[in-house]
Symmetry: C3
Subunit: 250 residues, 3 copies
Amino acid sequence: MRPIITLTTDFGTVDGYVGEMKGVISTHAPEAQIIDITHDIPPQDVERARLTMARVWRRFPAGTIHVVVVDPGVGSSRAALAVASDARYLVGPDNGVLSPALLVAGMRAVRLQVPRGASATFHGRDVFAPAAAALARGASVDALGQDAVDPIVHRTPEPIRRPDGSIEGEVIVVDRFGNAVTNLIGRRGGELEIGPTRVALHGTYAEGASGETIGVVGSTGFIEIAVRDGNAATSLGLSRGSRVVLRPTG
Amino acid sequence: MRPIITLTTDFGTVDGYVGEMKGVISTHAPEAQIIDITHDIPPQDVERARLTMARVWRRFPAGTIHVVVVDPGVGSSRAALAVASDARYLVGPDNGVLSPALLVAGMRAVRLQVPRGASATFHGRDVFAPAAAALARGASVDALGQDAVDPIVHRTPEPIRRPDGSIEGEVIVVDRFGNAVTNLIGRRGGELEIGPTRVALHGTYAEGASGETIGVVGSTGFIEIAVRDGNAATSLGLSRGSRVVLRPTG
Amino acid sequence: MRPIITLTTDFGTVDGYVGEMKGVISTHAPEAQIIDITHDIPPQDVERARLTMARVWRRFPAGTIHVVVVDPGVGSSRAALAVASDARYLVGPDNGVLSPALLVAGMRAVRLQVPRGASATFHGRDVFAPAAAALARGASVDALGQDAVDPIVHRTPEPIRRPDGSIEGEVIVVDRFGNAVTNLIGRRGGELEIGPTRVALHGTYAEGASGETIGVVGSTGFIEIAVRDGNAATSLGLSRGSRVVLRPTG
């Protein structure tokens, strides 16, 4: 089986940085199959990269190598990591982007050596792509560096259970459709409070009337706020961190 | 030969939905070669997806599997389809996006079973990607579901022949260059009327003077309106549905 | 080894033009591995495509075929080229986009035949994709056409050494992060003048304080102007061609 290497960056594609990384991988691991996840992470948005990776990394088969380069601290003393977790591999900076894999029991993380002559501004090309290629050729993470000490882990904030039985959550991310994904675990029955707005929970986007604001259980099991044929984030002024209160019923 | 699976969606890439689909395909059909067509269909623009697919689907070799997920009705009673047509396969919602393949004589369309536990909001991951993987592993469409009854077919509107010999058409799509593609079949000789503007037909974009508005026969055989070194749609205020009249000469 | 074909265009992806090219390549060279470099070159920006290709083309292994289609002159008398250079192949219009490969000693360039029936507006599909597929199947460039006469070569402008020892350069490209890449060769020590602004040279982006404007040696060895956690091009009003003066120290 050809090993899979996925790429997740904030580089866009036009500047050629991603092209350079693909060239390095193709040169050092010609058998690898390169799959783009995204290059449209907003510049330096570590949290967004973490959430995208959380959705994606375990959907790929065992042996897959995920390269995640959203790296505002490139060239500083922040560590470069390789992680083996749940039979997959991940490489990227030690700034939280690899959190989903670092939270798994039994994972193993090492600090990558920065090769002599590596650019101080582009570890994607000179550190992470070569490390991914080495893993694709069969290297173990242990061959790539020494134990990483206390890698940085970010967690999605937990909702707060209030004395009156309601649950206070928040918007974690707004997607391309303007759906606002919250940290509230999906359930049947209940009402959402978003500032002065009251919103009922439905089964699917299509259950709402056109233009209606609804809550639905999204594809990762969390409640999302959507407007049928519209954009919930724009209509309700929602962005990352906006408060959403769930009042369960039944 | 490794089977090809192409992807056409309105998901963008940043949210990771496409990444999840690629993971599911890689897991269930590791031999498949995944090729991106686009993830930049404007959100829920079924018509745009239909036109993009019309251009693309038969350019790929026999055996190719096209996955098209522009799906405002996800989770409603709309059917999920698999289609075998002209030696290619297509999967996607029953909302018109698969029309180009459904119009071919001898095609075969089935209604996909929605697996138990599928997300009500993300059939791309839980219905269409697994169906594409099954086809890549050699399943027939008949193995995937029962006959689809009257799948929805959209057609590009036909131009109208008028008593004075002119032909009234319309703009079907505006491309990235601002070229307005019409439903008027290409021909040599003639003049276009776009509101008060008169435009001559030329052979290529490069024949116009810089800034000149011209009509050319585009790469699918239809007349396009272009501005040399400019943007015709912006200059002339053209969008989908704008009227364009052709006065043939000669 | 499967041959690699990379794609660099200004087509975007939504219109399906790139999809058509991928279909043609898959049909005529089913063993080829297609890798996207970018489809987001600004429409008709030949210079930007040249710079992206300059970064990328030699990062890929010997035998790679690069297809570059940014082609305002399509359908005119401009030549269509295939180039063999430094063990790689490139195909694209004769307008400067292939300059990085044309500047290498011992390169070989031929003028591609335009097949009968080729669209006058889409050589990407009808000329360049078939030529790339032929190269992937093992054709030599000589089999694809006759000697190209004086292909067009663009060069990055050279900085000017001034009598007072300072060096006058300019901004070559602004990247997605707002970093302004100049034509000034990287060095340790010195100060940049950008209009009234004075900027010190640092080792990495991360050395600046948040919001500070700095000069760093970028990943191709040229000096870049960056703002830590900000956008240098926006803050300083920089764009392609903006003057930057280097005053070396030490």
